[in-house]
């Protein structure tokens, strides 16, 4: 909780908007990276993701951001590795990061097909 509150205080939400440059793959990777290191209530991620999309950031990047925010936990990694094991925590977070990119591509492809 100390780490989460400190990171939340140190990283303002406006930083995320300046990170994206509207290049599909690069934005997705950045989205997943930003989401992975972000901490806080998922409510914030939806609002931030929605606002980023309103500013022109692609849906794939926003989806990667939303999914990695909730499935990858860099800030929680120390606690996770102490309680559940370092190897488990490492593989779980790495696979969640890769899956965030896959989920983003699959979700946006299906959504585009549906709408």
């Amino acid at each position: 909780m100390l780490l989460i509150s400190m990171l939340t205080a140190l990283v303002p939400t406006s930083v995320y908007a300046s990170l994206f440059n509207r290049n599909g793959l690069f934005d997705s990777l950045l989205g997943a990276l930003a989401g992975s290191v972000s901490v806080g209530n998922p409510l914030v991620s939806y609002i931030l993701g929605g606002e980023l999309m309103n500013q022109g950031v692609g849906l794939v990047a926003v989806t990667a951001f939303l999914v990695s925010w909730t499935t990858v936990g860099v800030a929680q990694f120390p606690a996770e590795s102490v309680i559940l094991g370092k190897r488990f925590a490492l593989w779980r977070n790495l696979s969640a990061f890769v899956l965030a990119l896959v989920v983003a591509v699959v979700t946006t492809t299906i959504t585009a097909w549906l709408v």
Partner: protein, 170 residues
């Protein structure tokens, strides 16, 4: 006894806490305003999760009382889809910060659950039912339904990956 020796005798959790306390002291001297913002966030977080902490302790007690290794093996250890259904639904319905669930999951694992199941449960925690209206407002219901279903499938894929990495001792 030197400070290094004392630290080496402590568990990882205590070492992490000491590092964080020193980081907070450092932040206090580097940026007092950020330190106080962090302190406010911390107090808000503590206040918010106190009822959840009580719920977690209650759940842990109930689990300890009712869930035995035999029960876990009977309900979750089989090859059926039921154990994955429980992991998916349990993850979606679980409340509170994720780090409060780690001790519960570690305890359940000792009682026979696999790492794949734990990974599946943790992945499904990303699906937040109360937040679906907000997600629909921003992204539309086609997107929300698709994302939810794809994430459930992804959780099963992750469970498969984690289980096989474990099997091959990677």
């Amino acid at each position: 006894m030197s400070a290094v020796k004392v630290l080496s005798r402590l568990s990882g959790g205590w070492r992490f806490l000491i590092i964080m306390v020193f980081a907070e002291i450092g932040l206090f001297f580097c940026s007092r305003s950020t330190f106080f913002v962090g302190l406010k966030i911390l107090s808000g977080l503590l206040f918010k999760i106190l009822p959840v902490l009580l719920l977690v302790f209650l759940l842990m007690s109930v689990i300890n009382y009712y869930v035995t290794p035999a029960t876990v093996t009977r309900h979750l250890g089989g090859r059926g889809v039921k154990k994955w259904f429980i992991a998916v639904i349990g993850g979606i319905l679980s409340v509170g910060p994720v780090y409060l669930w780690y001790p519960i999951l570690a305890d359940l694992r000792k009682r026979g659950l696999s790492n794949g199941w734990v990974a599946c449960f943790l992945y499904n925690r990303a699906i937040k039912v109360p937040l679906l209206p907000l997600a629909t407002y921003y992204f539309g219901w086609h997107y929300v339904v698709t994302l939810t279903l794809v994430m459930v499938l992804a959780s099963i894929v992750q469970a498969y990956v984690i289980t096989h990495l474990e099997k091959f001792k990677i």
